[in-house]
């Protein structure tokens, strides 16, 4: 309880300091919006020409993209501190975090709160509403719960990837850009249901990093392609992935050597 209160306090400080630079905040938010708007334009023009891909219609793809984008924005909004962790290690700030009588994870989560992701979120919400309106989904309570479980699982999955990235920073700071494949790549290419990319990618995205658990499988239930409600619970499988990433983090932290400056 105390931890939550402390976290909220951290966040309120971060938001207040962001709001001191309103112009910069608005511009970053606008940038976020425009980048995902371009991806949307790409989908729009491809569907204007082809009308469907692997049996998915335009509105179904938009729904899929919107949910993925929301998951990613939420994860970035809350767990951005891990994404910027390389800087914390490089500047020796992690030593300061370690000597404080609070969990390092809490302090890092509280160190950043990217409100500017609201630009991306806005884009996602607009597409989501359009997708709901045009795809013929009957919105019963189980479908609503499916969306909620997707948002929960997806946010947790992306936050876990950020955590693994941060854990790798304990060992090296060089060349970690390749981790962008797992985060930005998933955001960019998660716009289409994963089976569009073929069976090999499906396997990679299930057994190595479980994107399909928060995208493809629950989506099948959401779009009424299967009646098996177990698919709606698949996103909770990412809890296992989160536990593994937490172990990686613990392992990394026990090997931390300060830069000493």
């Amino acid at each position: 309880m105390r931890a939550i209160r402390l976290y909220l306090h951290y966040i309120s400080i971060v938001i207040r300091s962001t709001m001191e630079y309103k112009a910069s905040f608005l511009l970053t938010a606008m940038g976020q919006f425009l980048v995902s708007f371009n991806i949307f334009l790409g989908i729009y023009f491809l569907f204007a020409r082809f009308s469907e891909v692997k049996g998915y219609s335009y509105s179904e793809v938009l729904l899929c993209f919107a949910i993925m984008l929301m998951e990613f924005s939420l994860a970035e909004c809350f767990a951005r501190g891990f994404d910027a962790f390389a800087g914390i290690v490089r500047e020796g700030q992690f030593d300061r975090i370690l000597v404080r009588p609070q969990s390092p994870i809490l302090q890092i989560l509280g160190s950043k709160f990217e409100l500017s992701r609201i630009g991306r979120m806005l884009q996602a919400v607009v597409m989501f509403v359009y997708g709901i309106y045009h795809s013929n989904i009957l919105w019963t309570w189980d479908k609503v719960l499916t969306v909620i479980s997707m948002l929960f699982g997806g946010t947790l999955l992306f936050a876990s990837i950020f955590l693994i990235y941060a854990a790798l920073c304990f060992f090296t700071l060089d060349g970690l850009e390749f981790m962008n494949v797992l985060t930005d790549g998933a955001r960019e290419y998660g716009k289409y249901p994963i089976d569009v990319y073929g069976s090999r990618i499906m396997k990679i995205c299930t057994y190595i990093v479980p994107y399909t658990l928060v995208q493809y499988y629950p989506l099948q239930y959401l779009l009424g392609r299967t009646d098996n409600p177990i698919y709606a619970l698949y996103p909770f499988g990412t809890i296992v992935f989160a536990l593994i990433s937490f172990c990686v983090w613990r392992f990394g932290i026990s090997h931390y050597q300060s830069a000493g400056s």
């Binding site: 606008m30 082809f50 390749f178 990319y197």
Partner: protein
């Protein structure tokens, strides 16, 4: 008298060539970053291939170009990403303008425009040289249907290289226009974000220009941004050929000359009214 001016010109060319070489050598030092970038480019390339394959399978008749041309487009785009990425601007220059150190640059006996042009072109070239070969070689050896074809004949290959250089020129000239724009503004952050996302779409990096519906396609092909990656990447696989190609290359040349001319002119105005505050 005449002889002296040629010597001077030769000397000044050598000056910019030195800027070019220095920046190039600096750029190729970043090998770890290049390796990490290459991983990203490979993944991006494969995912793009799979997406377009899925769209092709859903309706081959609606595909506006040969499938193999599309593969060439995708792999060249990934291999030469650093050639044409307008979002990759030189932050050093924006910093110079904001913190006033531009004053030192103005003292040098060089033309700011030419120096920036040489440095920017060198930077892009160095980054592309580091990344392109593994990607190109892999793409040429991939199994069908994802393999990148070779150009039809040697003439096409030469045209490809020539228009690549011209495309690089158009990209650099555009970026310098944005740098100069920030001379006239307190904060250029907003306009930069807006411009780079617009260009990202209009240059055909989100979807290739032939995929756009008709009235829009014609307009976009007339814009300067079509002369960045769209022209060389489509010439490579002969998707752009004949009179259509001649027109596209002509437009590319036209925009290049226009943007360099405009840039030099604006640069002169900016230099005259630059105000350096204290320090």
């Amino acid at each position: 008298m005449k002889k002296q001016s040629t010597i001077q010109r030769e000397f000044s060319l050598r000056k910019y060539f030195s800027f070019f070489r220095l920046r190039f050598n600096m750029g190729i030092q970043y090998r770890t970053a290049a390796a990490a970038g290459m991983v990203t480019q490979f993944v991006w390339g494969f995912m793009e291939c799979f997406v377009y394959k899925a769209f092709y399978d859903s309706n081959p008749a609606a595909f506006p170009m040969e499938f193999s041309s599309m593969m060439a487009y995708i792999w060249l785009q990934q291999a030469f990403l650093m050639f044409f990425a307008t979002w990759m601007m030189d932050n050093e220059i924006f910093d110079l303008i904001i913190n006033g150190n531009i004053a030192y640059e103005l003292c040098r006996p060089v033309s700011i425009y030419n120096m920036w042009f040489a440095k920017n072109a060198a930077n892009r070239l160095s980054k592309a040289v580091l990344r392109c070969f593994p990607i190109l070689i892999t793409a040429l050896l991939l199994p069908e249907p994802f393999r990148m074809p070779l150009p039809k004949d040697i003439g096409t290959a030469i045209l490809f290289v020539g228009t690549m250089a011209l495309g690089l020129g158009v990209t650099v000239a555009f970026c310098i226009l944005v740098y100069i724009l920030s001379f006239f503004m307190v904060s250029s952050q907003g306009i930069r974000i807006l411009l780079t996302s617009l260009v990202d779409f209009f240059c055909g990096s989100i979807v290739p220009i032939p995929f756009l519906p008709e009235p829009l396609r014609t307009v976009v092909e007339l814009l300067p941004f079509a002369g960045m990656q769209n022209v060389p990447l489509r010439i490579y696989s002969s998707d752009l050929a004949g009179t259509e190609m001649t027109r596209a290359v002509g437009l590319q040349l036209f925009w290049f000359v226009l943007m360099v001319g405009l840039g030099k002119w604006l640069c002169r105005i900016a230099e005259r009214r630059v105000v350096v505050q204290g320090g």
